[in-house]
Amino acid sequence: MTIEGLFKNRQSYYYKNLGKYLKYVLNDHFVILLLVLAGATGLAYQNYLESVLVEALLPRVVLTLVILLVIFSGNIRTLVKPADAVFLLPKEKEFNLIMRRNLVYSLTFHSFYTVVIGFLTVPLLIGIEKMEPDNQIIWILTLVFWKVTHGIYLYYSLKQHQLETSRNIRYVIIAISLTGILTSVFISVFIGFFIALAAVSIFFLYVFIYTRSENWNWESLIETEQRRTQQIYSIINMFIETPYSKHKVKRLKFLDFLYNFSVFNQNPEIYFLSRMFIRNYNFSGLYLRLVLIGGIAIYFSNNWIINSVISVLFLYLIGFQLIPLRQVFKKTVYFRLYPNTDTDKINTIQKLLVILLAGSTIVYSLASISSGWVTMTALLAINIMFIYLFVYGYLPRRLNKKEKFS
């Protein structure tokens, strides 16, 4: 098999897999939600455009931030796997070709959404009188040039360099693109365009002519690609469980005081589960996000019915997303080797869930205090009822059912 064939296979497998999961992510409910959100945002944007002042500073700052975010986001899709560092090492020359293709591919993809964002920002630029409508192509090309510069930088950063050189290059790229974008937004779209053109040409020559022969840094190739796929799968994992969610584990020493509570030291199961939950960002990050989003939504609403519905919805989401905790015990051989581990693992999960859901209920109640005591009490009462039903009614049945079929 040629190295080209190998990557072709990988590519088709990668997209087949991604497509399979995207079907679940883009389910009917979520698509409708997205459409509604997009519609609402579009409407708000349109209203805002009508009222925007020519001299206003805020829209310029926001525009700059959005553009920077668009330009500096994204990675090169390389599809490199850890084992490549061993098996493909003798084929670096052939791999160069693959990497150039990856770069072209990723640049095309990134340019596509950059163009879309570019078109969306055109009315704002016209609104603040930085641009004539005829010149919008100049603005969009500027954005694409910056995006390409960033893409080439990513390509360049995957090769082996002196630490100092690569740091200097990074600073230069950041400084120049910041200057260029600020020029476009605050001074002139034309000057900004020429800065972008110059930057992309010079950097292109530097990377592809001057430093062409440098070797690949396989460790960073592997690490970047794993981080990239991890990011994609961590989003997908919010909708459906995939086998690709490698956990990110952080020590989080400042949270060590939590483990002093005796409830987390009763038996090996809860000992492990509590620490695992906090240090594994897949779980704790999800929990934190849902608590925060729910809390903010409740804070901005004054109606007790809406507040209660939102809080129950978020409690359900939290509880539902934590059901995979059951798998954690299955995957760990030790819980089959320990003596006394015929104890009820479902019981342990229930215990942790009650603590977590109670915690989020407290946050939601505090967030609803501003809407009055009655609202808060109603929310609290409904939440407690829900937690009881979910943890002691639904959860054991659901976990036992899973047990039977797995």
Binding site: H247, F272, R275
Partner: protein, 246 residues
């Protein structure tokens, strides 16, 4: 402690990997389980620790099977797997604590037992680290510490020397000999025949899921008519002559 394996047949699917295996392990005895890759050493170990159930035959620890009293059976075994198995989310100190908790050892007692071992293995200043980030040898040391702090009466050690530095190998051998003197039994599988020859009391040679031979070094020499031969010489010649695993 005595381990009795009686006519055990077992495997992963219906095709048995182990065929009618029997051997005993007495108090204060160290048995070396010897065989090529895929001969059935690890499968035998999995049956003993209870991760797999035999299709036929029985495994008895002090006269009791796993089913008779699971928690008593398991408490008697300290297991060091071939590949270190660690919790990604727990620190070294927490590995010691959770092991103590699972085997009903008081946490302070477990720490007292662990500290000299940690010092021996130069791990004391890494108590707050995640062992899953350690090197292979250091992970193996963590596994050794966790098995030794529960002071089991039966140690089951799968390929203990892989990845360990020479000092750690020497220390581990000393620790095993110490435990033997205290009356514990050890079942060890290994490919490092020179070390095995030095420390094992008896050997069980497994080939293709069957016991090919068992006994002390002298008994094996006599059985195969190779007086003076080392275990290594004897085993490689045997493997060639008999066409093991074919």
């Amino acid at each position: 402690m005595s381990l009795k394996i009686e006519n055990v047949t077992g495997g992963y699917s219906r095709m048995p990997v182990l065929k009618n295996i029997s051997f005993d392990l007495n108090d204060g005895e160290l048995i070396g389980l010897i065989g090529l890759n895929g001969a059935g050493k690890s499968t035998t170990i999995k049956h003993v620790i209870g991760l797999m159930e035999p299709f036929e035959g029985q495994i008895k620890l002090d006269g009791k099977t796993l089913k008779d009293n699971p928690s008593l059976y398991r408490k008697k075994i300290g297991f060091i797997p071939e590949t270190p198995l660690l919790y990604d989310e727990l620190t070294l100190k927490e590995h010691i604590e959770i092991t103590a908790m699972a085997y009903d050892v008081d946490i302070s007692v477990a720490m007292d037992r662990a500290i000299p071992l940690l010092e021996k293995f130069r791990l004391t200043d890494r108590l707050e680290w995640f062992p899953s980030d350690f090197s292979k040898g250091m992970k193996q040391k963590v596994m050794i510490v966790c098995a030794f702090i529960i002071e089991p009466s039966l140690y089951i050690i799968d390929e203990p020397f892989l990845g360990l530095d020479p000092i750690a190998i020497r220390d581990l051998i000393q620790m095993m000999e110490q435990k033997k003197r205290e009356g514990a039994s050890i079942l060890m599988s290994t490919h490092v025949l020179a070390s095995a020859e030095r420390i094992c009391d008896r050997f069980v040679i497994i080939d293709n899921g069957e016991i090919y031979a068992k006994g002390t070094l002298t008994e094996l020499r006599k059985e195969f008519g190779m007086p003076e031969a080392s275990l290594d010489e004897m085993y490689t010649q045997l493997a060639d002559r008999e066409g093991f695993l074919k």
